[in-house]
């Protein structure tokens, strides 16, 4: 067993790393060496803890203490106070934004309390660059079990019985997918891992690849055994350099250990994995587009059927699963279908990883059982809305999803409920909006993304989305007319009804869901030419409240375009024809004399 008595686990995910967690690791090691503690205290770079908004994270084990927003200069204090004297460094502990209470240890932090980590089981726990740590956590046991004790049919049955549905967005049953691929006879088949995560704000795949790459490799090999494939490919975004680096390390280590390659576990099963880099096109997350991209063709979808399971990569049967889907497979195999199927809701088993973002206190990555309500996620795990503002909406499923509101907060989240509510699971992005967000602008923002990311193959997506975006821009600019709202709805419905692939079919969702839930805001824009949330610049006017204005001239001095006139100690005026609505005057005014109309 380990000779170490204490371990300092530093998050080495992309987010913490860009906040200098690598420097923190070096500093900690230097300090430990300087204090002669090298044989007692170990510093480990781990994967993501999921608490990204408060990174960099340093976790002290076995005390289970989490330090947040650690800076490189804090390392000396941590070593001297906590490691040597056994005293917690209070100023680095997490404070609950509502109660302002200091959390004692990670078990008592609301952000972790409601979570159930299956996919993320090893993230933040092991050193992803060390296969031994993965193996120590039952890693590659599932592969061993499958190869030594089970037939391919039995493996597929377990996956089928577990009720797991694909985590890439559409929620297609994983077992069924494997079953179809296994039944298509061919001299060569392929297992593809879709790691082309593209939703803005979603980073669950990246975190898994960075924090626990072996779980994906192991699952791919299990899949290969089940469907009869000897080659695996991971299509990963080239913008994920750390994930790529760790995958390469993991593949090499697995090779060294004989867990990839020829005759794995001496059972005559060969399986190898290679990486393919994507150039970051959103549409390449669609499986046919992804396969075309891997083949060196233009990344655009083709009509299904044929499905990849019939004719995929290089025309051979290909099983494409998402990172998150794969990562859960080894656990399902080891703990059994029954165990997994007891988690979650009837039609959506297991857990789901969500990326919390937007106007929420705890930004980061969480994993909860299916069926958890939005309220639990946003207000308990997420710690509620930032700055005490009022919750307005949450966009689930990224740009393809829809905006859900107050009335949806107590709905148990699963694939079908989200679709029924006019949104979707997608890959699990969750963007929280507060009262300051204009919902027309939100719809415009997401359309901006899909217009950019459309491959251009089919007319509704190529041109229709552009027209939607144009119309939304006009409405935000105050140029909309009431009839535009009908056009907006009609165009959205037609695009949804006619677009070729999932990207186009779901791209109008943000428009439709905001039209459904926030019609009053749209109407305010087109009828009253007002933006109730005060976000649309062209629809607002900065005005001086004559009663409050004391003529201090502070606003006039700060105005970058000299739009404010007035003598000292006299009421000032803002010229709306010059004003660029930057808001500097309002911010500067100490007398609350400037308001938005």
């Amino acid at each position: 067993m380990s000779k170490y008595t204490m371990q300092l686990m530093v998050c080495g995910g992309t987010s913490c790393n860009s906040a200098e967690s690598d420097v923190i690791v070096c500093n900690l090691r230097d300090e430990i060496e300087a204090k002669g503690l090298s044989d007692k205290v170990q510093v480990i770079t781990t994967g993501c803890f999921g608490f990204c908004g408060k990174g960099p994270i340093v976790k002290v084990m076995p005390d289970n203490i989490i330090y947040v927003q650690v800076k490189p200069e804090d390392t000396q204090t941590i070593i001297e106070e906590h490691v040597i004297k056994g005293r917690k460094v209070e100023r680095l502990l997490y404070r609950d934004p509502k109660t302002n209470e200091i959390a004692g240890d990670s078990k008592h932090m609301s952000v972790f309390k409601k979570q159930l980590r299956i996919v993320l089981r090893n993230c933040g726990v092991i050193n992803p660059e060390n296969i031994d740590e993965y193996i120590a956590r039952d890693g590659y046991q599932a592969l061993g079990k499958v190869l030594t004790e089970m037939t391919p049919e039995q493996v597929i049955k377990v996956v089928n019985d577990s009720g797991q549905r694909g985590r890439g967005g559409a929620g297609f049953p994983t077992g069924l997918k494997w079953d179809i691929a296994s039944k298509n006879k061919a001299d060569q088949k392929y297992v593809v891992c879709n790691a082309d995560e593209g939703d803005p704000g979603a980073f669950m795949d990246r975190s898994v690849l960075e924090g626990d790459p072996h779980s994906v490799l192991e699952a791919m090999a299990i899949c290969g055994y089940s469907i009869g494939a000897s080659e695996g490919l991971i299509y990963v975004r080239a913008e994920y350099p750390m994930a790529i680096r760790r995958l390469k390390i993991a593949i090499n280590q697995a090779h060294e250990y004989g867990l990839l390659g020829n005759d794995i576990f001496g059972k005559g099963f060969n399986f190898d994995i290679t990486l393919r880099y994507g150039a970051g096109a959103f549409v390449c997350g669609e499986e046919t587009a992804l396969i075309h991209s891997m083949e060196g063709l233009r990344g655009e979808p083709t009509i299904k059927p044929p499905f990849p399971a019939q004719s995929g990569y290089l025309g051979k049967p290909t099983n494409v699963n998402n990172v998150e889907t794969f990562a859960a497979i080894p656990v399902i195999i080891l703990k059994g279908a029954e165990w997994f199927s007891k988690i979650g809701t009837e039609k959506s088993r297991g857990t789901k990883v969500f990326a919390l973002a937007g106007k929420i206190n705890n930004v980061g990555l969480i994993e909860v059982p299916m069926g958890t309500t939005l309220r639990e996620i946003i207000f308990q795990i997420g710690g509620g809305i930032r700055n005490g503002k009022k919750f307005k909406a949450v966009q689930t499923g990224g740009p393809s999803g829809g905006c859900l509101t107050e009335k949806h907060l107590d709905m148990p989240i699963d694939f079908d409920n989200l679709i029924a509510a006019g949104s979707m699971m997608g890959s699990g992005g969750m963007i929280v909006m507060d009262e300051d967000n204009c919902m027309v602008s939100v719809a415009k923002f997401f359309l901006d993304f899909t217009v950019d990311e459309s491959c251009g193959k089919c007319a509704p997506c190529r041109i229709g989305n552009k027209r939607l975006h144009e119309l939304l821009s006009r409405i935000c600019d105050g140029k909309g007319i009431p009839e535009d709202l009908d056009r907006l709805r009609n165009m959205s419905l037609v695009i949804k009804d006619t677009a070729l692939c999932g990207l186009g079919q779901s791209s109008p969702n943000p428009v439709l869901s905001t039209l459904d839930n926030f019609m009053n805001e749209y109407e305010a824009h087109v009828k009253d030419k007002k933006c109730p949330a005060g976000e649309c610049k062209n629809l607002m006017e900065y005005v001086v409240n004559e009663e409050n204005c004391v003529g201090c001239t502070a606003c006039a001095r700060v105005c970058p375009v000299n739009a404010i006139s007035g003598q000292r100690k006299e009421v000032h005026h803002i010229d709306p024809t010059i004003c660029i609505k930057c808001g500097a005057c309002k911010e500067k005014c100490k007398f609350d004399a400037i308001f938005i109309r």
Binding site: A281, V283, R298, E300, T302, I303, P305, V451, D452, E453, S454, C455, G456, K457, C458, A459, P460, R462, I463, G464, N465, K466, R467, E470, L471, R474, R487, N490, M491, V494, K496, D497, T498, A499, L500, Q505
Partner: protein, 592 residues
């Protein structure tokens, strides 16, 4: 065969498994509109990217609408093709497409022939909502010697891509950019001129809109005709007479040779000649060259390479210069009939009528767009004066005739002028796949064996199969002949030649599917091979009607050699009627 039963618009239909909804509907007489879809039956090629989404239909129990061109029928399907939902979707998508399409129909070269225009008409589009503020995707126009690309009009149907890549394997065109700016263009959005394009024009032939059109040379021809100091002569390629009638409402396959001559005379050309004459001349040169190489080869001369490849097709010449420059000594050095005609016209004929070559304007009417490029090749001019000044396509000629208030239907049959209007049946069949080699065989046989050919129709060389082969008995000497039309098929034979596996003595290649009758400059046939077959039948009918059917029997050809060229492959003939090829393999340069 396994069949499937389904209901379309409340009517039952039974179709073979694998049939698309669209085809099943056709069986019931229901014509679901399509735009991007294109079927090339004989080549077994379908372009169905499912991109335009105009052919959508409602399928019961399906969440969204289904593209009927690319959705296969399933047992028990219930399909509705014109519900309010479907009609609204079609109209809205069409409005999308039109909102990003220039509205210059009045002056568009495709006006009247534009499938987008017809579709807008068919769907009854009268207004494009939001047009006044709709941004358009705009691109730089590209002018090449043969083809103009106006991508503002590209609707991403991808038909050109299918022709260029799947059929022709030229690989000049593919989709570039994404989203709103997506269009089909050469790599790096280079000009066509700097791409691997062979100017075969098959992309132009299938483009439903004005995005791909030919360079129009009619205005140049008009200027020449209007200039009293110029003598303007015209040559007409064999495939033109078999298709021109279609532009005047005639049935495909109607021969209009005589009417065409009358129309040209009426347009003001001074002499109406026939490229068929030059085709006969080509046979003399190419046939002699073939026999020379064959006999040297049979004697064991290693420098005599077999097979010989025909060289009358400029698209084909461009193709091997681009893709097979290592084999550039394999094709015959004979110029194409168009250029042989030009070379003889500007020397022999100019002398005869005592006109300086600079005042003699040679116009060619061709079924081809590559001919426009060919006549501009540097090696085909003397002191900057081209042997063939302008080449216009069958389509351009049709338009030209219409502009001159001439109705081809009502014209008398005219006669070509002498001496360069006289031809044999062998010259005529140059217009169809297999024709050049059949003409060559007719002459080569008699020259080689010294015997009279009993059977003139070599039906084993005819047909529309993409790659064909036959062995012709040259009086005990078996001659293996290969034929390919469509550059993709040519590539297959060329790969064999490159690998040294080819067993052929001679190979005929025509770049366009069907040969010149299916050329890029012909009236649009929209992939309908019945039209191609009818044109081929017309060509063979004209051949059959000719009193002379072997090139070497053409009395004016005999006279030409006697008076001017001496004998086939003579020094003079070499100078005027032969050419050389260049390595044009493109080196892609990406600007940093």
């Amino acid at each position: 065969m396994e069949t499937i039963k389904l209901t379309i618009d409340n009517k039952e239909v039974e179709v073979p498994k694998g049939t698309t909804i669209n085809k099943a509907a056709k069986k019931l007489g229901i014509d679901i509109p399509t735009l991007c879809y294109m079927e090339l039956k004989d080549m077994n090629i379908e372009n169905k990217p499912g991109g335009c989404r105009l052919c959508v239909v409602e399928v019961q129990k399906r969440r969204n609408l289904a593209p009927s061109c690319s959705t296969n029928c399933e047992e028990g399907m219930v399909i509705l093709t014109h519900t309010p939902r479907v009609l609204n979707a079609r109209r809205t998508v069409m409005e999308f497409i039109l909102s990003d399409h220039p509205k210059d129909c009045l002056v568009c070269p495709k006006s009247g022939n534009c499938e987008l225009q017809s579709m807008a008409h068919r769907l009854g589009i009268r207004d494009i909502p939001g047009q006044e503020y709709a941004e358009m995707s705009t691109y730089r126009k590209d002018f090449s010697p043969s083809i103009i690309r106006d991508l503002d009009k590209c609707i991403m149907c991808r038909r050109c891509e299918t022709m260029c890549n799947t059929v022709q394997t030229v690989g000049a065109l593919s989709a570039v950019n994404r989203g709103f700016m997506a269009a089909v263009a050469p790599a790096f959005e280079q000009n066509l001129e700097f791409s691997t394009c062979t100017y075969c024009g098959q992309c132009v032939a299938v483009c439903p809109t004005g995005a791909l059109t030919e360079v129009n040379h009619v205005p140049n021809v008009l200027r020449a005709l209007a200039d009293p100091s110029k003598t303007v002569i015209v040559q007409t390629a064999p495939a033109v007479r078999a298709a021109l009638g279609e532009m005047f409402g005639m049935k495909p396959g109607t021969l209009v040779t005589g009417k065409m001559v009358t129309a040209l005379r009426s347009l003001g050309f001074n002499y109406i000649f026939d490229t068929d004459f030059a085709a006969d001349l080509t046979i003399m040169e190419e046939g002699t060259e073939f026999l020379d190489r064959l006999n040297r080869h049979l004697k064991g001369d290693k420098t005599a390479r077999m097979p010989i490849l025909t060289s009358c097709c400029p698209g084909w010449v461009n193709f091997f210069e681009e893709y097979f420059p290592d084999l550039k000594d394999v094709p015959s050095t004979s110029k194409s009939p168009q250029q042989m005609f030009g070379a003889i016209a500007k020397t022999y004929f100019a002398d005869k009528i005592k006109v300086d070559r600079k005042d003699l304007v040679v116009v060619s009417i061709m079924p081809c767009l590559a001919k426009k490029y060919e006549c501009q090749r540097e090696e085909f001019s003397t002191d900057g004066n081209r042997d063939v000044d302008f080449s216009i396509s069958t389509r351009e000629l049709g338009e030209f005739i219409k502009q001159a208030n001439i109705d081809l239907n009502n014209l008398e049959e005219g006669e070509f002028d002498v001496p360069m209007g006289e031809s044999t049946g062998a010259g005529v069949i140059f217009g169809t796949t297999g024709g050049v080699i059949e003409a060559a065989v007719r002459t080569a046989y008699e020259l080689q064996t010294g015997k009279k050919l009993e059977r003139i129709d070599f039906t084993e060389l005819r047909g529309l199969e993409g790659v064909r082969s036959a062995t012709i008995d040259f009086d005990g000497l078996p001659i293996n002949i290969g034929i390919a039309h469509g550059l993709g098929n040519a590539r297959k034979l060329l790969d064999d030649v490159r690998a040294g596996k080819s067993q052929f003595h001679a190979i005929e290649v025509m770049a366009c599917p069907g040969g010149c009758i299916g050329g890029g400059g012909q009236p649009l046939h929209h992939g309908n091979s019945e039209i191609i077959k009818a044109r081929a039948a017309a060509i063979y009918a004209e051949d059959k009607s000719k009193p002379l059917r072997k090139s070497h029997e053409n009395p004016f050809i005999i006279k030409l050699y006697k008076e001017f060229l001496d004998k086939p492959n003579s020094e003079k003939a070499h100078h005027l009627l032969h050419t050389k090829y260049f390595d044009k393999k493109k080196k892609i340069i990406v600007k940093q």
